[in-house]
Symmetry: D3
Subunit: 318 residues, 6 copies
Amino acid sequence: MSETFPYLKSAGKAQFVDRHVRKAGELLQQRESASVTLLGAPLSKSSISHSGALLAPTTIRTMLHSYSTYSIEEEIELDDIQIADLGDICMHPTDIIGSQSRIYETVSAVTEKYPDSLFVLLGGDHSVSYPSIKGFSTKKGAVGVIQFDAHHDLRNLEDGGPTNGTPFRSLVESGVMKGEHLVQIGIRDFSNSKPYSDFAKEHGVKVYTMKEVASMSISSIVKESVACLKNKVDAIYISVDMDVLDQAFAPGCPAIGPGGMDSATLLEAIMLLGKEEMVQGMDIVEIDPTLDFRDMTSRVAAHVILTFLKGKKKAQLL
Amino acid sequence: MSETFPYLKSAGKAQFVDRHVRKAGELLQQRESASVTLLGAPLSKSSISHSGALLAPTTIRTMLHSYSTYSIEEEIELDDIQIADLGDICMHPTDIIGSQSRIYETVSAVTEKYPDSLFVLLGGDHSVSYPSIKGFSTKKGAVGVIQFDAHHDLRNLEDGGPTNGTPFRSLVESGVMKGEHLVQIGIRDFSNSKPYSDFAKEHGVKVYTMKEVASMSISSIVKESVACLKNKVDAIYISVDMDVLDQAFAPGCPAIGPGGMDSATLLEAIMLLGKEEMVQGMDIVEIDPTLDFRDMTSRVAAHVILTFLKGKKKAQLL
Amino acid sequence: MSETFPYLKSAGKAQFVDRHVRKAGELLQQRESASVTLLGAPLSKSSISHSGALLAPTTIRTMLHSYSTYSIEEEIELDDIQIADLGDICMHPTDIIGSQSRIYETVSAVTEKYPDSLFVLLGGDHSVSYPSIKGFSTKKGAVGVIQFDAHHDLRNLEDGGPTNGTPFRSLVESGVMKGEHLVQIGIRDFSNSKPYSDFAKEHGVKVYTMKEVASMSISSIVKESVACLKNKVDAIYISVDMDVLDQAFAPGCPAIGPGGMDSATLLEAIMLLGKEEMVQGMDIVEIDPTLDFRDMTSRVAAHVILTFLKGKKKAQLL
Amino acid sequence: MSETFPYLKSAGKAQFVDRHVRKAGELLQQRESASVTLLGAPLSKSSISHSGALLAPTTIRTMLHSYSTYSIEEEIELDDIQIADLGDICMHPTDIIGSQSRIYETVSAVTEKYPDSLFVLLGGDHSVSYPSIKGFSTKKGAVGVIQFDAHHDLRNLEDGGPTNGTPFRSLVESGVMKGEHLVQIGIRDFSNSKPYSDFAKEHGVKVYTMKEVASMSISSIVKESVACLKNKVDAIYISVDMDVLDQAFAPGCPAIGPGGMDSATLLEAIMLLGKEEMVQGMDIVEIDPTLDFRDMTSRVAAHVILTFLKGKKKAQLL
Amino acid sequence: MSETFPYLKSAGKAQFVDRHVRKAGELLQQRESASVTLLGAPLSKSSISHSGALLAPTTIRTMLHSYSTYSIEEEIELDDIQIADLGDICMHPTDIIGSQSRIYETVSAVTEKYPDSLFVLLGGDHSVSYPSIKGFSTKKGAVGVIQFDAHHDLRNLEDGGPTNGTPFRSLVESGVMKGEHLVQIGIRDFSNSKPYSDFAKEHGVKVYTMKEVASMSISSIVKESVACLKNKVDAIYISVDMDVLDQAFAPGCPAIGPGGMDSATLLEAIMLLGKEEMVQGMDIVEIDPTLDFRDMTSRVAAHVILTFLKGKKKAQLL
Amino acid sequence: MSETFPYLKSAGKAQFVDRHVRKAGELLQQRESASVTLLGAPLSKSSISHSGALLAPTTIRTMLHSYSTYSIEEEIELDDIQIADLGDICMHPTDIIGSQSRIYETVSAVTEKYPDSLFVLLGGDHSVSYPSIKGFSTKKGAVGVIQFDAHHDLRNLEDGGPTNGTPFRSLVESGVMKGEHLVQIGIRDFSNSKPYSDFAKEHGVKVYTMKEVASMSISSIVKESVACLKNKVDAIYISVDMDVLDQAFAPGCPAIGPGGMDSATLLEAIMLLGKEEMVQGMDIVEIDPTLDFRDMTSRVAAHVILTFLKGKKKAQLL
Ligand SMILES: [Ca+2]
Ligand SMILES: [Ca+2]
Ligand SMILES: [Ca+2]
Ligand SMILES: [Ca+2]
Ligand SMILES: [Ca+2]
Ligand SMILES: [Ca+2]
Ligand SMILES: [Ca+2]
Ligand SMILES: [Ca+2]
Ligand SMILES: [Ca+2]
Ligand SMILES: [Ca+2]
Ligand SMILES: [Ca+2]
Ligand SMILES: [Ca+2]
């Protein structure tokens, strides 16, 4: 607004403003130093099936503008957290492996430049986790991963190269991380094949199926998971494949199905993990906004980010 | 049907009729005296964001035709309840404040003409609750309000006038009701700002967040809420903002998000409230049928009405 | 509205009213005597493929409320035309042949009771035209039919009984009308099989393909069609299968395709036919509102009705 | 693929193949002898309201291709189960009763030819259960039925013939089964009329409403149900009307509503029933893929089939 | 991009860039001096029926990014045109008349600050044209208006105030412009009422119905229109209500119908008008992106803007 | 069907069959020798923007089942044409260039094995035309191409490799064909950049813009195009990018816009080209079924194939 044109706002910004409300989306700024860094990896040509997950970074950011910075449940205000929105990694139109290398190089550089910041990556499909965790590891040392997913993502690499079905296989086979440094929560019936469940077992991956999520409390699972990694690794990275949720709660994932987690359970897990100092990185993947209903799945993603920060703040880690 | 044309029914009414089934929608009639009065307030130009909630009164009524009058769970038949469908309040195309006055005047006249009837208002956005509760209060005396909502709706009135974000602020500031006569159930993280949570505290508003809904039983919350109001007010009015439900259960509200109530919990609360003699009014707001999926949210609304009546009948109040 | 409740209108009727605008939908009234009778035949279980055409009578009537009664092009006001909306014929849930008999009996009774009125039937799928034309013929004598359609609808009856692919075969085979009293306009490539085109030829059906519609003017085709029937029959009935239109103009028909008529051409034909005194009946069929986009196809149907009346009025036949 | 064209696969089959993954859909083959037989009954013209349930057999089969054959929760691999996909029963376009007879005759012949196989029927609307259970009974002797449904489906047959509202009335009235051999689980408020609940009572039908599902454990209900039938019948048939699920979990049923079961509960019940030797037949009905969101409801159906087989295998019955 | 992060682009900007392609959207910049000024008036609460036209300014701008700056037909490159995107006018949530005043004040100030620039306003509904043309007139002197519309928009102001049905009535009645300075092109049958057609006649409004558009060439109509205004006014303003197009070509307008213009005809008219020096202002209104299919209607709007500039450039006026 | 199960058809095939109707889809068979070969290239990861064109081969084949084999306009029956449906080329999940090589190798082998057959390729995005035409050329000698497209597709290869924006640049630069052997019909304003129009000019590409399509007859354009190529090449290949059509007629292309061709014009062009003996190959590209409305664009594609064969048959070339 200017004196000449008191009612004009820049294009697309002419929404109603309530002076007392701070939108969560406003936390994301292009800034130099920050306690949290966030960037998008808009890659989904690497998916086995047709996927529009490349569009999720934009949608999740937009959804952050639908929510505020205040947790009434914990009476925690996030508005003093500085998040550097580093933008999105530009992908190559016809070179998928090249695009994955760009993710690795960028995450590696980010972790180098912001060694003390929390790291958040918005996918993209799950293939982005291999280069992201590899890049994250360059500075962090041994990294443990807690993966929320209906699927192992431990497929062989011969049949189709580094797809969204292979990131943890790539990490284990390339030696970036050990199988026993991987915890998988939410693995589901009829969504995986026996040979890959066997691979998980053989490599010491800790697996919690939905049956266990239903019978144990999520807080016990989180506690066990962190305990299992704590003394073995230097940092923990959470990889949130949104299809860990039941299709009723995350209708916008490519590989939906019944019998999954509800969103309250996932958010509880995320807050508990946020409270752990070792948990320093996170990615959120497998949201295809073209398939979603009213961006419900990206709305959950926005809450995952905010709830993670709430956990950090509650534990005075931020 | 006539003798000449035995198969003709009036336009749009040629559906199959089962002689043993009574549709809930048939309870609504244009009649003079009734134990329940119902009317629509098709106003949503008052919403902060674009909203088609003006269309909800029609959709909710239509949905009542998809359900029957019989509760098998309680073995209660509602078919002898007389509901006067007073119709919809005509809104002014370009005068929003004027439209809200029409709501006030109409509700006031309804409460005057039908002093002993239960009152049900179908919004519209939440802005309708200010004139509705104000009108309801003219005859009823001190009114306590139990609000189901993800949001406080206690925004300041300076920034945008009486919108769907301000009804309870208006009520408190105009002296129609006291802050301590307001109970809010289902208030959610990242959906409100601290200044308005502070306002609630300062004015003695009783707030149950979703964390409390998850940890306490809904029956305890309802019991506490009624107990807290019972001796202070002359009548209780329930204001049901459908966005109190999780987005999976009420996909058709403008401000959807994860982490909300499920519909069974809301319906249990409504039945318990129905059983209270002091609860004499209700509004259902913030359903935008243009955003909904298969009118799911209006279907819940239809069940809210029927469950309220079931509660009344179970307590022999109807 | 009443004195007590000056702003209340009956449920669903609280729209803005401009005192100078007459909606076309208001012409339809339940009345005893009328110059036009209209009724719905909500039958589409008779369709070869899954069809929601049963819903079209309601949608077309609703669309008539989106348009006015005034033709500025011809400076003709339709507001003094009396249309008796006789309602819809009630269909049997599991007896399709029985439902078709109900159509026959009803149309027969309507033509008897209103011998001097124009007759309009809203389908339903095209199977309704057989009982409708049969009923129409009981009083009218020899009836000629001008059918707008991409398809012959002359399929054999052995393979599936009286479906939406057979009405004109039924009429010819049952002797209700002769093949040479049938004119088909808009028949399209790759939408019919040779045996049925041969049947048309053998029975003297006059066929104008889309190639002829494209190369001749529509007014010549209409003129020829009427001339061809005029001396042979006592009355002419127009059967408008909306799939005569290109899929761009009528996206809501079950059997859409490219290469069809545009809506201006169809409307011109209808006005020219309206000007003919012998044209006394019409049906509009094959609109499936569940497949349509924004009720576009029902909007064209509403214009077909109004344009027909405009033609009548222009020729001072109404 | 051939030597000349190493990259060609037959039309529509050129998807990525992971050598270690077996799709559940591959279990379905056209084969002569099998431990499970499956067929489709694509009939929904018999529905009271407009229904596209005829399309469900195709959609459910397609969804089976989205899931694998392995249950990680029970460490059970289904890939050695032989399912004979007998195809779909061809329906008559205009003779609904005739179509139902075709179902009866086919199921009867299937039970005769495959007396020792488990039987799975994919509807279609619920009207298919009458001819299916009648056919199933011809060889099996006295059949008990456990029906998952929001509705009794005990409507009178006079008003509309054998629709999707009448299958169990038909079975009881025709003497195919006794009322006390019928268990109904999930019956819901405002979804049934009193006269039909009375009919259920009078005929000894065992009814578990949603209130009981919510208050008892599903395993107790299943245990009681089986116990109640075990000594009275020769075989048990499960009839799964998907609308037993809450609208959030099964958005694609014609008669959706709030307050229903969640999918995890239904799947648990199905596994427990699968473990019972007497349970030898199943149908899945009332899924309308044209109304569904991302085939969610058919995805649940695919899991119902797989979970049933998992139960069988766990109990070493397969 | 930076040296540290060579692949990062700012959020949402990581699309592929072809070095030889200039997107039309890039012409819009926030700049001080410019030959064209453009701004949005996101107002549609003033609409008679529910309308999301407030969202169109954003959508139209986005669509300009889908097209280039080059006209191959005329071999004209627009990339040296400077467009100042002044942003959007902030609307008041509950004061519609106040919002319209803001439009008037802003347009008035824009015309004052940029007296020599072409002016483009993106609505919003058609109500914005009254304040816009009034503001445009403050500096320009007598303004003639060429309106493309299916409707007169000459409704009375008593029944509902200044809605999208009244802008030209307001202009004429308030004396901002004379009736004879208004040309209406594309007025359609059954879309207007006789009293308003009479009003047009009485006030000397020049009206071309669709019948005339179909029978005359659009270039003659444009020529006549300009000739009719040229000597009477100081500047000409084009008001493009997108519903002048047939529903097949502009499916995203609130008031769609058959029998309208095709987009090629509209674009030809716009280019011819662009070539006229007197034509100095334009608005584009009545696009509701929530109703549209794939933003087709906003895509036409983008072409209207570019084609207008092409005309200007062809006539060397820019 | 068998004797035991007279009503069973194999899964998904239980549709109604009319003994006198031959579906166009039935022409496609897996056979050894044929006068026409058809195959799918389900590749769209090569697209600049997100594209689901990989799904088009399946959709187009399905649409062929919605149409018959008979042209009533020309009284030509196609049912004796033998089309070998060779299936689809299997694409690599993460190696786009490798996938394009598979297209080249397959088309090359097909042209070798079926030297006298007409060749039809179903894309995929437009990137498939480079390997397809290159493969087609290996046996055919000098190939001329007539491209229907809104876009030149002559982008540079440096910025993003071989995308859907570059096929004709690749062909010209790699020497597979000369620029003067390329004719482009339907090129549109604001859909191309000047440098690429200049490239077309410099390399002798013959360009017909939409302005020329509108002012010349399509038959003259086709005649000129063929004449221009006839003496210079050994065979002609038609490349049909469906976005040559106006968005109203082909709503399912990724790059839609106004001002394009209508489908009747395209089909006329195709028939005329079919009649030319030199025209021996064709591809149809850029249909994204996930964006389409009711598969309209794939329906046009089905008609393009059938109309091409109609032309061949009319000229007695088949
Ligand atoms: Ca994953
Ligand atoms: Ca997953
Ligand atoms: Ca609220
Ligand atoms: Ca709320
Ligand atoms: Ca027909
Ligand atoms: Ca037809
Ligand atoms: Ca049922
Ligand atoms: Ca049911
Ligand atoms: Ca207008
Ligand atoms: Ca208009
Ligand atoms: Ca192209
Ligand atoms: Ca193109």
